[in-house]
């Protein structure tokens, strides 16, 4: 049984697998020629951009940049927009894919950082962001939901603060795309970074970023683009500016199929199912003696993640027992979220993270509840 969907969704819709196989027998290189095979790749790539733009309310499909994953998108966004000496606000809830690029800017470019502190429940409030703004503040970089607890940040309220103060707003939507609705316009998001292999249910090695019109992200790599070949510099037009080299066309074909699948099923149906599975699990374990739950399950919005510990047991030991004795995949340890573990007081023990997906069932959740009960009684 697979409960590690916050790391990657292991079960993919069959149409995703079929699309990758088809692409591997038919697709040429996108943007490299006008023969049928190259055009079929260019079409899939463009249709994927258009579908992502529609899903996230990005006005321009050509401002949808396709990358390897959310980490690559966040590195491009953070390093390509934040000038030396700037002040940036971020949060305790971030993954290292936000924190490490920011720490590097701190070291290399005299960028100063302020952190919105998470409370003991692992939540941040929008007004905390506003309190940290200084005349030097240029950007807020913030996750939409914690990968550790599934707690959601009120991105629309933070976006409104960015708009009010003229700040660039970069959002890490790794945990929410395909699970919660995202509207770049309504939420005032300047750069939305996401991965393709989690909630979007596409192949690994796919991801992207949607850039609002007028936002300039600097080139981070140069090379073949299939356009303006006699220019010495990387073309300035998006998406070419940020996409040197051959794209992961086969993976993108899978992502496109996944997006169509999600459109058919509906994001609200996915949100509802994942929430109901997480709630069922929470209700089933919350009264077991010795269980501590870190996810804020009473919040208005939540992803399908429940993080817990049993007494003072090492989370790695619990996850190993779940794997070995019950054949259940969960994630223990630090989850690349060091500040969130500090906020929750779990740096030593770590936490056991259950994360449910569209393809999990109530029967599986019930088996997980029974396993936790048994382990807690040991």
């Amino acid at each position: 049984m697979y409960f590690d969907n916050a790391a990657t969704t292991r079960t993919k819709p069959q149409c995703v697998i079929d699309a990758v196989c088809d692409a591997m027998t038919s697709m040429g290189n996108a943007s490299r020629g006008a023969h049928g095979s190259a055009l079929s790749a260019s079409r899939v790539v463009y249709h994927t951009r258009a579908k992502l733009a529609e899903m996230f309310h990005c006005k321009r499909p050509d401002h949808v940049i396709l990358t390897m994953n959310a980490t690559e998108s966040l590195n491009i966004a953070i390093r390509g927009t934040i000038a030396p000496g700037s002040h940036v606000i971020t949060t305790d809830m971030e993954h290292n894919s936000v924190l490490r690029p920011l720490y590097l800017l701190e070291k290399e470019k005299d960028v100063t950082l302020s952190f919105v502190r998470a409370d003991k429940g692992g939540n941040v409030k929008p007004e905390q962001f506003e309190e940290l703004i200084t005349p030097q503040t240029k950007a807020i970089v913030c996750t939409h939901a914690s990968n550790l607890t599934g707690n959601v940040v009120d991105i629309e309220a933070v976006g409104a603060i960015c708009k009010k103060h003229g700040l660039l707003f970069i959002v890490d939507a790794s945990q929410t795309t395909g699970v919660l609705p995202i509207d770049m316009e309504k939420m005032n998001i300047d750069i939305l970074c996401f991965t393709g292999h989690k909630g979007l249910m596409g192949p690994q090695g796919t991801g992207g970023m949607c850039i609002r019109e007028g936002v300039e992200v600097e080139v981070f790599k140069c090379g073949g683009s299939g356009v303006h070949s006699y220019d010495k510099e990387q073309p300035r037009d998006y998406p070419t500016r940020l996409e040197a080299g051959t794209l992961n066309g086969h993976g993108i074909a899978g992502l496109y199929a996944a997006l169509n699948y999600i459109e058919e099923v509906g994001i609200s149906a996915i949100e509802q199912k994942e929430n109901s599975l997480a709630m069922r699990f929470y209700e089933g374990i919350r009264h077991i003696d010795g269980i501590r739950i870190y996810s804020d399950m009473k919040a208005k919005q939540h992803t399908g993640v429940v993080a817990l510990n049993i007494r003072d047991y090492d989370s790695a030991m619990v996850a190993d027992a779940l794997s070995e004795d019950y054949d259940m995949a969960t994630r223990a340890g630090a989850h690349c979220a060091p500040l969130m573990h500090q906020a929750l007081g779990t740096t030593e023990q770590g936490a056991v993270r259950f994360s449910f997906s569209w393809f999990n069932t109530e029967e599986e959740v019930d088996a997980a509840i029974a396993a936790i009960r048994e382990l807690a009684e040991e």
């Binding site: 006008a34 055009l39 260019s42 079409r43 790539v45 951009r49 050509d62 356009v227 303006h228 998406p239």
Partner: protein, 79 residues
């Protein structure tokens, strides 16, 4: 060499713009197809939209109306 006639060629600065035109034209039953950019055309993108010269007005009007981005409009002798 095959006989050539004067044809409409529309160029683009990026592949994404070319693909946007193809998607729009297919969806709206507008004429033409993508071709490799002929040498007479100065363009950043290696793809161009080719159609009969008589379709020029209908295509450009549609692009204007839909705010579709393209680079240049050419009349080129092509087979």
């Amino acid at each position: 060499m095959r006989e050539k006639t004067l044809q409409l060629v529309i160029s683009f600065s990026s592949t994404a713009h070319a693909m946007a035109v193809e998607k729009y034209c297919l969806e709206h039953d507008l004429p033409g197809r993508l071709i490799p950019v002929p040498k007479e055309v100065t363009a950043g993108c290696g793809l161009a939209w080719k159609a009969a010269l008589s379709e020029k007005e209908i295509l450009l009007e549609a692009f204007e109306k839909e705010n579709i981005t393209y680079d240049g409009v050419y009349e080129v002798l092509l087979r």
